[in-house]
């Protein structure tokens, strides 16, 4: 929902705080995901993730979430799928050249990042999207990565 998506960006700081509380829980559940099996957990967890993130961010389930690095504005809503900043065609009113009645997701991303504690992550260059991960759960990927990385786990995963 467009209006909710905009609200989230305006409250990027609170959303960030909420996520920072939520992420360790998902990671702590790693033994549980292991027990269930990531393959089996994928469908139900993915469904929950999809429903909640679709509502909040108009999430496209790219499977490699970068919301923490994009001011809580999902870059996959950009018609050019730009994950590293705005294109050169942004209108003077901050709207999208392709969808002129919508705000550029990167204008939002920049504003959102300025409100966030970890807003500096917007300066990191993002890798190209891995299209194989489309539709998969980012949360489980974070949990799995953290448990794989343990004991060096520093929980700095930028995923949401």
């Amino acid at each position: 929902m467009y209006s909710i998506r905009r609200w989230v960006v305006r409250h990027a700081r609170s959303v960030e705080t909420a996520y920072r509380m939520f992420e360790p829980v998902v990671i702590k559940l790693a033994p549980f995901w292991n027990w269930v099996g990531y393959q089996r957990a994928e469908k139900p967890v993915g469904q929950v993730e999809k429903l909640s993130k679709e509502l909040l961010f108009d999430c496209k389930m790219c499977g490699q979430c970068v919301l923490s690095a994009t001011g809580m504005s999902c870059p996959m809503n950009c018609p050019k799928s730009m994950r590293n900043g705005p294109c050169g065609g942004v209108l003077q009113n901050g709207h999208c050249e392709v969808l002129p009645d919508k705000r550029c997701v990167w204008v939002d991303a920049w504003e959102g990042s300025q409100k966030m504690q970890g807003g500096d992550q917007i300066h990191a260059v993002q890798l190209p999207v891995d299209h194989r991960l489309q539709g998969s759960s980012s949360w489980l990927r974070v949990a799995r990565k953290s448990s794989d990385d343990a004991p060096h786990n520093n929980q700095e995963g930028r995923d949401d």
């Binding site: 050019k80 799928s81 730009m82 590293n84 294109c87 209108l91 392709v98 204008v107 920049w110 917007i122």
Partner: protein, 351 residues
């Protein structure tokens, strides 16, 4: 400090190695004020149509940009134009857009283009298909301009495809990117420049500059971030044909920002076309004085024949005359663009 001195600073550090056989790279790294221009691609399979369009710039530009379906319109491909021009010895900037090809096609094209003699590549995301003549086409956007830079830098420096497979002879290219300091989010634009430099951009060709204060602010911010020593910046300029054309552009061409004052000046002129060129000349001269500006990129859509006069009157080349066919003192060099051009990248002398 004027631009020349800024260029000199870089000469010390940057000429230690060249990433390509590009004449543009040599011009910039030697501290000369470089001039590039946009070459409109023909809707034709006749090579002579490409050569005729290039010829109007002879002796005035250091490199020509072959556009890649600009405005999402179909024309001759940029790789083909560059290949044709490199046969003659011209230096070209091959524009590569992410709109029409995925990473497999893009990497293949870059390697192939380098084999055909292309030395400079400008990485672009590309306009959306809806603005062009094939709005029903599928937009690809597998990569964005930033990841395209990274990918090509990887081909060149790590000598491997994204997959990790080795390349025996990597594409030796001078890597460029675009930036538009005139559209929102304005505060983010210098940081985006930084990101592109981190991703591998060595030079920038920018959107049309009609708003000097806005550009100066962008450059000052970029200087504070320490970016001006890490790249060469060529702001875009171009003659406006009339006040009406300017008005049309600012409402229909995404990313073009033209302040009211410019339109008023055109409206008040007796000969609007001439005034448009005069504004362009003045803009080039003013841009030259901004620290960190290494050259200009001229986009004179449908006014290509005016480019020579504009450059001449702006005086930015001083005594220097960029290479053109026939100007080369060593004719055999024309057939071997891969050879070191350090002595022959221009025929004139430095002022």
């Amino acid at each position: 400090m004027i631009n020349h001195e800024a260029g000199d600073d870089r000469r010390v550090t940057a000429t230690a190695s060249f990433s390509s056989a590009s004449r543009l790279e040599r011009t910039l790294k030697a501290g000369y004020f470089a001039v590039t221009s946009e070459l409109a691609p023909p809707d034709s399979a006749n090579p002579e149509d490409v050569y005729a369009r290039a010829r109007v710039f002879d002796g005035y530009v250091d490199s020509m940009n072959a556009t890649d379906g600009s405005g999402a319109n179909c024309h001759m491909s940029s790789v083909a134009m560059c290949a044709l021009l490199s046969r003659i010895g011209y230096d070209t900037v091959m524009q590569v857009s992410c709109r029409d090809r995925n990473r497999i096609a893009l990497q293949g094209d870059v390697v192939g283009a380098a084999a055909l003699g292309v030395n400079n590549i400008l990485c672009l995301t590309g306009d959306g298909v809806q603005v062009g003549d094939h709005p029903e086409a599928k937009p690809v956007f597998d990569l964005d301009s930033m990841s395209l830079l990274e990918v090509i830098a990887g081909l060149r420096d790590k000598q491997m495809f994204v997959s990790g497979r080795k390349i025996t002879d990597p594409p030796r290219v001078f890597l460029g990117a675009a930036e538009n300091p005139f559209v929102p989010p304005l505060d983010f634009r210098p940081y985006r420049l930084a990101k592109k430099i981190a991703a591998g951009a060595q030079f920038f060709q920018m959107q049309y500059c009609f708003d000097l204060p806005r550009f100066a602010t962008f450059m000052a911010r970029s200087r504070d971030l320490g970016l001006l020593e890490k790249c060469f910046i060529l702001p875009g300029v171009g003659p406006l044909a009339s006040a009406r054309a300017a008005n049309w552009m600012r409402h229909h061409v995404p990313g073009v920002h033209i302040p009211d004052a410019v339109i008023k000046r055109l409206e008040g002129a007796q000969d609007q076309k001439q005034e448009g060129r005069q504004i362009c000349i003045e803009m080039i001269q003013q841009l030259r004085e901004i620290q960190g500006v290494s050259g200009v990129h001229i986009m004179a859509h449908r006014q290509e024949s005016a480019v020579a006069e504009i450059i001449e009157k702006s005086g930015v080349l001083r005594e220097r005359q960029p290479w053109f066919p026939g100007s080369d003192p060593l004719p055999e060099e024309r057939h071997d663009v891969q050879r070191d051009h350090s002595l022959s990248f221009c025929t004139g002398r430095l002022s």
